[in-house]
């Protein structure tokens, strides 16, 4: 079967065991308007190995699927025959609390993992939208730090080991189960952020953190988004040990409230989070608030004990975009956020739902529509600020006309080489990644 585009559902059915070709059920695996011809729900690494060996030998294009929270990310796939659903792989493989490490299967959700760890007063320091659904395999495949990445880093910084299956079905691993390890190349880092283009992530080992004795959160209103950002920047500079420092535009604040956030009004808001021992968290927060006051913000401080709910609601905003709209993500050095925000609001006067992690150099915003020229122009203007703009979600028709990732830079040649080594037939998530990978 040289031309896999022609692989019909019935042909695929003969290639795999337990394959699902029910058209209605396959809708749930849609990516950018494209539905696979079949789906397999794998429960073991062996099933994945078998499926991949078969897929590669028969030239079947595969998209690995987790909690389906970030499927909008990336370019539309150039081919999509088979959805490989990994949500059945959701077991804890090994957990020794006193080692502060855990090994889990890739289909486990972040929320399930956190519940498991909370029993022992531990947690995995990653923020991710819709953590009730998002799987750890998916979170690591996307590979990004969240709103608190200044304090916590990203998945790469917590992964210490990984088991994967290559495109051709060969199982392999990298790293191990110890917190410090330089034995061999760091394959888990290569896979973190590779968006399923190099292999199927099967099992992950993380190092963990103890839950802080005290976690505190404060919201302050600001007269404008700009004033809130200036105050946030001052807070982050004055209190470098802040755990989180986020600014929301009025509409974003209102949406977050709708999602369960406390202490937010329909006004530009600044949200500060600090943790550690109680006295230390208070000390950091008061340093930050002093700096905020000095920028002229004088509204009352509001606080809540519903910290996790409030923070998660803000994190969830990333995925609240109207499917007809476009959500942009900009990452850049924190000191350049103000300038970048001015450029963006000039070029995109209707931009809304701003979320800015001031200490982390991260900004999300939404627009009703955008065209390729505007995106290129923005990238040209943000480039000197070391800004990188990603189109996170957009209607498929628009995605077909733009580059959602932006230019791959000078590392592109190496990235193509890596892809060729790991997936020479380009069957894993083809076309969705950077530079056509």
């Amino acid at each position: 079967m040289a031309d896999a585009e022609a692989a019909s559902a019935s042909e695929i059915e003969t290639l795999f065991d337990d394959v699902d070709t029910d058209t209605a059920r396959l809708q749930r695996y849609e990516v950018d308007g494209r539905t696979p011809r079949a789906a397999i729900k794998a429960d073991t690494s062996g099933e994945i190995e078998h499926a991949q060996a078969q897929a590669t030998s028969q030239n079947v294009a595969v998209i690995p699927i987790g909690g389906r929270t970030m499927l909008d990310l990336g370019m539309p796939p150039s081919r999509y025959d088979l959805a490989l659903d990994l949500t059945g792989l959701n077991r804890v493989v090994e957990y020794e609390p006193d080692d502060f490490t855990i090994t889990v299967e890739a289909g486990m959700t972040l929320a399930d993992l956190q519940r498991h760890l909370a029993v022992n007063g531990q947690f995995l320091p990653l923020d991710h939208p819709r953590f009730e659904r998002a799987t750890l395999g998916g979170i690591c495949a996307v590979g990004r730090g969240g709103l608190r990445r200044n304090s916590f880093g990203g998945p790469r910084d917590w992964l210490i080991g990984m088991r994967m299956v290559k495109a051709d079905g060969t199982p392999f691993k990298g790293g191990g189960r110890v917190v410090k390890n330089v034995s061999g190349y760091d394959l888990p880092k290569l896979f973190a952020g590779s968006l399923g283009t190099l292999g199927i992530i099967v099992e992950l080992t993380f190092k963990l953190r103890p839950q802080p004795a005290s976690d505190q959160i404060v919201a302050v209103n600001a007269p404008s988004l700009e004033a809130a950002m200036a105050a946030a920047h001052a807070a982050a500079q004055a209190a470098p040990f802040l755990n989180g420092c986020v600014v929301l535009s009025p509409d974003a604040a209102a949406d977050a409230r709708g999602l369960g956030a406390k202490i937010l009004h329909d006004q530009p808001s600044l949200l500060l989070r600090a943790n550690g021992l109680e006295s230390a968290a208070s000390e950091v927060l008061s340093q930050a608030l002093n700096a905020v006051r000095q920028t002229g913000l004088d509204g009352p401080e509001r606080t809540t004990s519903a910290i996790v709910e409030t923070w998660q609601a803000v994190a969830d905003l990333e995925l609240q975009t109207d499917s007809r709209h476009v959500r942009l993500r900009v990452g850049l050095p924190p000191a350049n956020l103000g300038t970048a925000q001015r450029i963006l609001s000039q070029q995109l006067p209707d931009a809304s739902s701003w979320i800015v992690a001031a200490d982390s150099g991260l900004m999300f915003l939404e627009v009703a529509s955008i065209d390729a020229e505007t995106i290129d122009a923005l990238r040209r203007q943000l480039g000197p600020l070391q800004g990188r703009l990603t189109v996170e979600t957009a209607p498929t028709e628009l995605k077909q006309t733009i580059n959602v990732w932006g230019p791959a830079g000078r590392g592109a040649r190496l990235m193509h080489n890596i892809k060729r080594e790991f997936d020479p037939q380009s069957l894993l998530n083809p076309g969705r990644y950077v530079d056509g990978i």
């Binding site: 020794e96 006193d98 080692d99 007063g121 531990q122 590979g143 730090g145 880093g153 790469r156 910084d157 199982p171 392999f172 691993k173 990298g174 191990g176 189960r177 110890v178 917190v179 410090k180 390890n181 330089v182 034995s183 061999g184 190349y185 760091d186 880092k189 290569l190 973190a192 952020g193 590779s194 953190r209 103890p210 500079q237 550690g276 021992l277 006295s279 230390a280 000390e283 950091v284 990452g331 850049l332 050095p333 924190p334 000191a335 150099g361 070391q386 990188r388 990732w405 791959a408 830079g409 590392g411 592109a412 190496l414 990235m415 080489n417 060729r420 080594e421 790991f422 990644y433 950077v434």
Partner: protein
């Protein structure tokens, strides 16, 4: 005096006579790093900038000569040894801190910058560079990147890979690539994550953008003295399990104290079996409260005493005994073999018992000074290489200790790298498929076969198996696989 070869002449033409070292006597200096093995380079080239590196690599490629990158030569896995001869590219002349951006907490440095110098420059801006290997007075950032170096303070902050944001790399085919991004927002694969820890086998790093971290407002260092290693290692496990993440948690045993004390006068009691160094940092109130809690835990394991220092000078004094430990071991025996096993932290007490048992069986004195909080052991076997059979005994014992770590669910190296020294042991933790995949990653970086050859992976054409009989011994004894 030997005459110059065409390749030496070509290297001189490329970067100037002053920057090329090729006389036999001068080459001797480059035969060693911090390990037992040695290698004989044909020539040393000392580039002043990225263009020089590109030109050197092109010359080496033209003559099909192996290329071995080298920093300060403090490595502990044989990574900088020119095992197959060829050109050593020494990065020591590229030693400028190009920029510190205090607001965004980053620094751009050349690879030859000494770790401690970067730390001092960061301090002038109220910041710190977290990875602090014990060789930090000499070792370079380029070498730290190659080995993914750690150090006592990586317990809280992570190793070098957590602190490198972007870098300039000259690949084996002489191409210059900037990879990574100030805030890790460059779209695409984490190439920086692949290069850090690749032990100079995929290219030469010519500039590094590192992350700096805020300096804590308060620091407290505690020293707890124990009458048994068991008590001390149980105290370590209890501190880790308590949920406190100390800035550092180090153990030093009796043999180390015996070496350190007469030279450095750190005040470690000579008859103690083990001392722990525990450091907590952060805001003032945090340090006070956490310090008290740690002290409480240390006291549960019946220490002889617990001392505490917050004054920078006193703290420095306590640390001197840890950071100067390796150098001081020369007091006891002329040679040492330093291991780098890592185990799950709950396994620490049992594995330490095993280390002492193995050392005793091989009739070797062993000193332990290590990153207990990370489960990263550094047993240091002491010997005299002039004594017949001593080196072989040391290498055999070393293999057995590594095996012990692997069987406890650990790994063969936590921060020193696999290098030449441990490459034959890699199959103890990785299958053929694992290693083949790693090799395919290396291949993606270009024609890398001649780039730091004979490192990380077992075997390899022309790498000379004879020098590694000890490894073959151990592998024959235990079988090729353990935790794969």
């Amino acid at each position: 005096m030997k005459t110059s070869t065409p390749m030496v002449q070509a290297l001189i033409d490329a970067i100037g006579e002053q920057a090329v070292v090729w006389h036999d006597d001068d080459l001797l200096v480059y035969e060693y790093d911090g390990t037992i093995d040695r290698g004989n380079p044909d020539v040393i080239a000392l580039p002043a900038n990225t263009d020089d590196v590109v030109n050197l690599i092109k010359v080496a490629n033209k003559y099909d000569a192996p290329v071995t990158p080298r920093g300060a030569g403090t490595g502990l896995s044989g990574g900088a040894l020119a095992v197959k001869g060829g050109v050593i590219i020494g990065m020591n002349r590229m030693r400028n801190i190009l920029n510190v951006d205090a607001e965004n907490k980053t620094a751009l440095v050349q690879p030859g910058v000494v770790n401690l110098d970067l730390g001092a420059e960061a301090e002038r801006h109220g910041l710190a560079y977290a990875p602090d290997p014990s060789s930090q007075r000499a070792c370079t950032i380029g070498g730290n990147v190659a080995e993914n170096a750690g150090g006592p303070h990586t317990l809280a902050w992570g190793t070098t890979t957590n602190h490198v944001l972007a870098l300039e790399l000259v690949t084996a085919d002489g191409e210059v690539q900037w990879i990574g991004h100030e805030t890790r927002d460059e779209p695409g694969y984490d190439l920086v994550g692949c290069v850090v820890g690749s032990e100079g086998t995929v290219g030469i790093v010519t500039q590094v953008l590192v992350r700096l971290v805020p300096r804590p407002t308060a620091v407290r260092t505690m020293l707890a003295v124990y009458d048994s290693v068991r008590q001390a290692s149980n105290a370590v496990s209890a501190v880790v399990a308590s949920g406190i993440v100390p800035a550092a948690l180090e153990m030093i045993d009796k043999m180390t104290i015996a070496a350190v004390e007469p030279v450095l006068n750190t005040g470690f009691p000579l008859d103690a079996e083990a001392v722990l160094l525990v450091e907590v940092d952060g805001p003032e109130s945090q340090v006070e409260a956490e310090g008290a809690r740690v002290e409480g835990i240390l006291n549960r394991f019946e220490p002889r005493e617990v001392r505490s220092a917050t004054d920078p000078e006193e703290r420095e004094h306590l640390w001197a005994g840890r950071k100067g430990a390796i150098g001081a071991l020369g007091q006891i025996m002329p040679n040492y073999y330093l291991l780098d096993g890592v185990v799950p932290r709950t396994k620490l007490p049992d594995v330490l018992d095993g280390v002492y048992e193995i050392a005793e069986r091989y009739r070797l004195p062993v000193a332990n000074m290590f990153h207990a909080g990370d489960g990263n052991l550094h047993p240091c076997l002491l010997f005299d290489e002039l004594e017949p059979g001593a080196t072989e005994r040391v290498l055999d014992a070393g293999g057995e200790i590594m095996r012990l770590c692997v069987e406890a669910g650990g790994a063969i190296t936590g921060e020193h790298g696999v290098g030449l020294e441990k490459r034959d042991y890699l199959p103890w933790i990785f299958t053929e498929a694992d290693m083949d995949t790693m090799k395919s990653l290396r291949a993606a970086f270009g024609p890398t076969e001649n780039f730091n050859p004979c490192k990380i992976f077992p075997k390899g054409h022309g790498c000379g198996e004879a020098g590694h009989q000890h490894a073959q011994h151990q592998i024959a004894k235990f079988g090729p696989k353990a935790f794969v």
